[in-house]
């Protein structure tokens, strides 16, 4: 292994790499935000919605959760780029968002249902309306409960973003392949890519645990 030559090549490739990493982070980040919002809607529908609403959302959820994320990505890409002329980025973002929302929705639903019934009753007993009860009593507790799973979902999303390379989104994996095509050092550049993914996921987990500690209730 020729280190000096490799570092020279690495330096040449730095812009491409930074762009690739940026794309990975950006698309994962947007997908997490949108997916979480959508996921909250899913959870609310499943816990508080009417029978029809629950049925429809449940079908959607089971469908998405039973489908591999790669299939979601390919399906969104082929369907949406053909019909509505979406770019790979947009199609991939939609796929990741939907994927994220299914996980967030299921986790939040579980967290809400795990709350003791007495909490809702105590809120009712002091005269809180349903909305007030949800915002001030139930949600803070459910969100704390769902936090570890949410952190996990965020890491999964970053890992799933690698599959977007297949539909042509220039994130880190595709960037790495492009760089190797010009500067054939597969082992070294893949190592760099692996290191980056490791650092991102590891940091997410670390950050997550720090947040968990911060919002944990004293006991």
């Amino acid at each position: 292994m020729d280190f000096t030559r490799f570092f020279a090549d690495l330096w040449i490739a730095r812009f491409a790499l930074v762009e690739g990493i940026g794309m990975t982070l950006v698309i994962s980040g947007i997908a997490i935000v949108l997916g979480t919002l959508l996921g909250i809607g899913v959870a609310l529908s499943l816990v508080y919605g009417g029978r029809l609403q629950r049925f429809v959302v449940r079908i959607f959820l089971e469908y998405v959760r039973g489908t591999p994320v790669f299939v979601l990505i390919l399906a969104c890409y082929y369907l949406l780029s053909g019909v509505i002329q979406l770019t790979p980025f947009q199609a991939g973002l939609i796929a990741l968002t939907v994927f994220c929302s299914s996980h967030v929705g299921e986790n939040l639903r579980g967290a809400l249902l795990a709350l003791p019934k007495g909490q809702t009753e105590a809120g009712k007993a002091i005269g809180l309306t349903f909305c007030q009860n949800f915002i001030y009593v139930l949600a803070p507790q459910a969100l704390r409960q769902a936090l570890p799973a949410w952190i996990n979902t965020a890491a999964e999303l970053v890992k799933a973003s690698t599959l977007l390379a297949v539909i042509g989104v220039v994130e880190l994996m595709l960037t790495t392949r492009q760089i190797i095509a010009i500067k054939p050092r597969p082992l070294e550049f893949y190592f760099v890519a692996g290191l980056v993914y490791f650092l991102i996921c590891f940091s997410i987990e670390r950050l997550g645990r720090a947040v968990e500690r911060r919002v944990a209730l004293p006991s």
Binding site: E121, G123, K124, I126, G127, L128, Q132, Q141, S219
Partner: protein, 254 residues
């Protein structure tokens, strides 16, 4: 004679197919302290939970200070709007067996939540009232502690403060010492006794017979969804009329 503050008339409740309350009549004046005793399944907790509409009921009426609770009487029996029911609930205060404090708020936060969000008081006023009641139940020093940092008896006292700070017309107590370790029971009972002495209107479901005897103005014995007997503590405990009450008292430690 002044109008009763709580009036339950011919209350019937079915749970699925089983009739749990079979026509309950109960009347309380302001300042009354009424204990409800009876074996499990007698319907006493269900009756209590109907008063603040945590349970619905199919027939009969409950009036607090003359106002029909939960359902409109005329022109036809209809369940009231949720926002109205929420408002009616703030006329009563309930203390639960499992305390049900909000774990993510301090003791002070638990007490001020209702004052701020339901009674719409500005925060300083709410805090002042909350601190007064926390002081009253002996928890002022722990106002900034979280429920997870408090013992069972302390949590239950905060729960009492939370309910009473809302200035309810009737306080409802649902077996509030049953989930406590024996050595913590007394601190809660003493708080309740002192509130009763101050003239708070209370309806208590309890297993603590000695306590019921000491604190109540009237004791109600419920059996299989009906009130079998009610009267002064002396009468109920020393001189039970109905056979079932006599048997019940024999089986409980009094």
């Amino acid at each position: 004679m002044p109008a009763p503050v709580l009036e339950i008339t011919d209350l019937h409740k079915k749970f699925k197919e089983i009739e749990v309350l079979k026509g309950v009549d109960l009347s309380m004046a302001t300042g009354d302290v009424v204990s409800v005793i009876g074996s499990s399944g007698s319907g006493k907790t269900t009756m209590l939970r109907c008063v603040n509409l945590l349970e619905d009921f199919q027939q009969g009426s409950i009036r607090i200070d003359g106002e029909e609770i939960g359902y409109t009487a005329s022109p036809e029996r209809r369940r009231r709007k949720e926002s109205e029911i929420a408002r009616q609930r703030s006329m009563t205060g309930m203390v639960f067996q499992q305390f049900n404090l909000f774990p993510h708020m301090t003791a002070l936060g638990n007490v001020t939540l209702g004052l701020i969000k339901v009674k719409k008081l500005p925060k300083p006023d709410a805090v002042a009232i909350a601190e007064k009641w926390l002081e009253r139940v002996g928890m002022a020093e722990r106002r900034n502690h979280y429920p997870g940092q408090l013992s069972g008896g302390q949590q239950q006292r905060v729960a009492i403060a939370r309910a009473i700070a809302m200035n309810p017309k009737v306080m409802l107590f649902d077996e509030v010492t049953s989930a406590l370790d024996p050595e913590l029971v007394n601190e809660v009972l003493n708080v309740i006794k002192s509130l009763a002495a101050d003239g708070m209107t209370m309806l208590l479901v309890t297993h603590e017979m000695k306590f019921a005897y000491e604190v109540s103005r009237r004791v109600v014995f419920m059996n299989q969804g009906r009130i079998d007997e009610q009267g002064a503590p002396e009468e109920i405990f020393r001189n039970p009329q109905s056979k079932r009450l006599a048997e019940f008292l024999k089986n409980t430690k009094f």
